[in-house]
Symmetry: C2
């Protein structure tokens, strides 16, 4: 007996039959004596359809109104789910973002949760209701609808779990859990039983699309254990939890890759104080996020500056950089879209050295040239030529002892 928050993604509630399946799963948890709060996404495809309608009206649809439009997706699923549970003979009650008092800032389409006063959720639980909350949406102080960005329902779930002090937060999805690498390119990838919040944060930001980053930040901050698992079968998935001693015995928990970046180099830039910000400020001002930055001093008073951006921002960043290069009299601007970033991640690195050199040696053994390097406390990333991505991931996975037994 406990208080359990369950979140089901768009694929899990993709049609009325799947909604019925999920309803049975919810009922099973409820019948075991638990209080249950369910967070739902929109049916798969619905959000894209709505976006498409908006884009037919405007290339840049008004964001406040877009949030009003998108919020209908989750509103539909929570109503259908509550109806289904009621039809099965249970007390169920849907709540929209503003009804669940999910208070956010006013940044349409990427609002952040400021507070959840879960009074109605608690009252409804007391009356033995199964409470169905619309994910992805909240309301600002004026009562305007906001949305939390792609994957925002994960954050809704963790934030609700934190505010009602749930015993656990189960994220049901279309994958089995978190893997040591992408199973599509590394066939020896294994499902992890446990992973630390910090590792998951690095995984998420590097392209493992299972959980929205902010949901993990929230979980870490409020110490909410997340159980990522499949909605299609009953097997255990992966627990995302606080670091413990066992974890540190493992040097590396996973290998990730990201093919969605491109790099830009400004060559022979006059080496003056403040030159990096002179180059990167116009890029940031255009709303383009910069990931890795490397500056190498050359002979004389010249330097090369290289940075990476996401592929979708590549063209924009190139144009801006060419303009800047002209103004600061850099020699030339080089661009490269055919790169990939591979990373090894593990909280074990905090207490062990040698991971970096092992990574470099492994890549060298395969004759893979390293173009850029960046590190955090628990991650080492190398930019390489894109065509070596799969080879690099498999080699590193094997070298760090992550391969599943044959």
């Amino acid at each position: 007996m406990g208080l359990i928050v369950q979140k089901y993604g768009g694929t899990s509630v993709g049609d009325l039959d799947r909604i019925r399946n999920v309803a049975r799963r919810i009922v099973k948890t409820y019948e075991q004596g638990n209080d249950v709060v369910v967070i739902l996404s929109a049916m798969s495809g619905v959000t894209d359809q709505l976006l498409h309608s908006a884009e037919e009206i405007s290339a840049t649809p008004n964001k406040r109104e877009l949030d009003v439009l998108l919020a209908t997706g989750e509103q539909t699923t929570v109503a259908l789910m509550a109806m289904t549970l009621i039809e099965m003979g249970y007390n169920a009650h849907s709540l929209l973002g503003y009804q669940a008092e999910i208070l956010t800032d006013s940044k349409s389409s990427k609002a952040r949760i400021l507070d959840i006063r879960a009074n109605r959720i608690k009252d409804l639980l007391k009356e033995k209701n199964i409470v169905i909350v619309a994910g992805f949406q909240g309301a600002d102080a004026k009562g305007d609808i906001t949305t939390l960005g792609r994957g925002g329902s994960d954050t809704s779930a963790v934030a609700v779990a934190a505010s009602i002090k749930a015993d656990k937060c189960e994220i049901y999805t279309d994958v089995d859990g978190i893997y040591t690498a992408d199973p599509n390119i590394c066939h020896k990838a294994r499902k992890l039983d446990r992973i630390a919040y910090d590792e998951m944060l690095e995984m998420a930001s590097l392209g493992a699309k299972v959980l929205q980053i902010r949901s993990v930040e929230f979980a870490k901050k409020y110490n909410v254990p997340i159980h990522v698992r499949s909605s299609f079968h009953e097997e255990e998935g992966t627990m995302v939890v606080n670091e413990d001693e066992n974890m540190e015995q493992v040097l590396v928990s996973g290998v990730t890759h990201n093919k969605n970046e491109a790099r830009i180099t400004l060559r022979k830039v006059p080496d003056r104080p403040g030159i990096a910000s002179r180059i990167l400020n116009p890029v940031s001002a255009a709303g383009i996020g910069v990931d890795m930055i490397i500056q190498n001093t050359r002979a004389g008073h010249m330097t090369d500056l290289t940075f990476t951006v996401s592929k979708s921002d590549y063209k924009g960043a190139m144009e801006i950089s060419k303009q800047t290069a002209k103004e600061i009299e850099a020699e030339e601007v080089l661009g490269d879209e055919n790169i990939a970033k591979v990373s090894v991640i593990g909280v074990g690195m905090r207490s062990h050295s040698g991971v970096a050199s092992k990574m470099f040696a492994t890549l060298a053994d395969e004759n893979i040239n390293i173009l850029m390097i960046s590190t955090s406390e628990i991650r080492i990333s190398c930019v390489i030529e894109e065509k070596y991505t799969e080879l690099a991931v498999r080699s590193l996975h094997n070298a760090f002892g992550l391969d599943a037994a044959e």
Copy 2:
């Protein structure tokens, strides 16, 4: 320059092109220097689709949740309309029922508006916004979404117009206005320039489906002039207004018909005090509305009691009546689905007599037998055999001088 409320129905906002057309119309009114509040229905067909989904889940979907589901329809149109206006370069702002503070009782699917505190509407108008309000929906004191029943957007529009003291309330629809009879069966029907609230109430309740009855009650109570007109062209439609002297010179304003009733007769009922309520209470208790009731005393202590219900309730009412007949020892129960009700309506009747006899004579001239009669201060209705409906409407239309000039 004034303050104008415009309401557009589902056909008028049926797709993105139509939404753009309506947007141009709104902008035209705004550019003339008016403050504009727009109330929108769901795109045509959407409400039925949503109902269909709900009915796949349950034969009797939970009404609270059904309202949550249905409310997405209007939420979608207001967001798309606001986006369209913003894309055209205007300040526009959507409001849902609860955001426009449309406070209703808690009767899901047929809620009544208790109050509209239109503070946000007024604030947005002051900032020169075009305000787009979701019709059909409100919220109860708990903040739960409610809907106002079929055609509820009309009532939303009139209620908003009343609360912000609008100069007029324009109801844009797919017909040109209010006609003296249904043009589909009476080709000489004329569009009325003006009609009194009371006449419109009788028209609406008798099957002229242009305006929701409650919207007219609201308009009458708060003296809001309604202009019913087409969203597809610029011609004037029909003003629904307070009675004036001119109107009384016209004896009859319109002829309506309703084929959607059936009648039930209990024959040879023991004639005791309270017998009518003994028969009709079980019918009402089953949620079935009874329209006309006639009781004729026979020779001895026996009476016949006849009443009409809508065709959809006929089977249910028959079953209940047969049970009652057994209990009170009535001789038999007769049913007839092949009936129609034709009515003549006009505030002129208040000050003139002779309308009833002229109606009866007109029907008699055509050899149409009158099965039941009921009257109000401004209406006379006759139940006849269904097959005579068209003949009766055309004859009455001609007899009361309503035919359009050839």
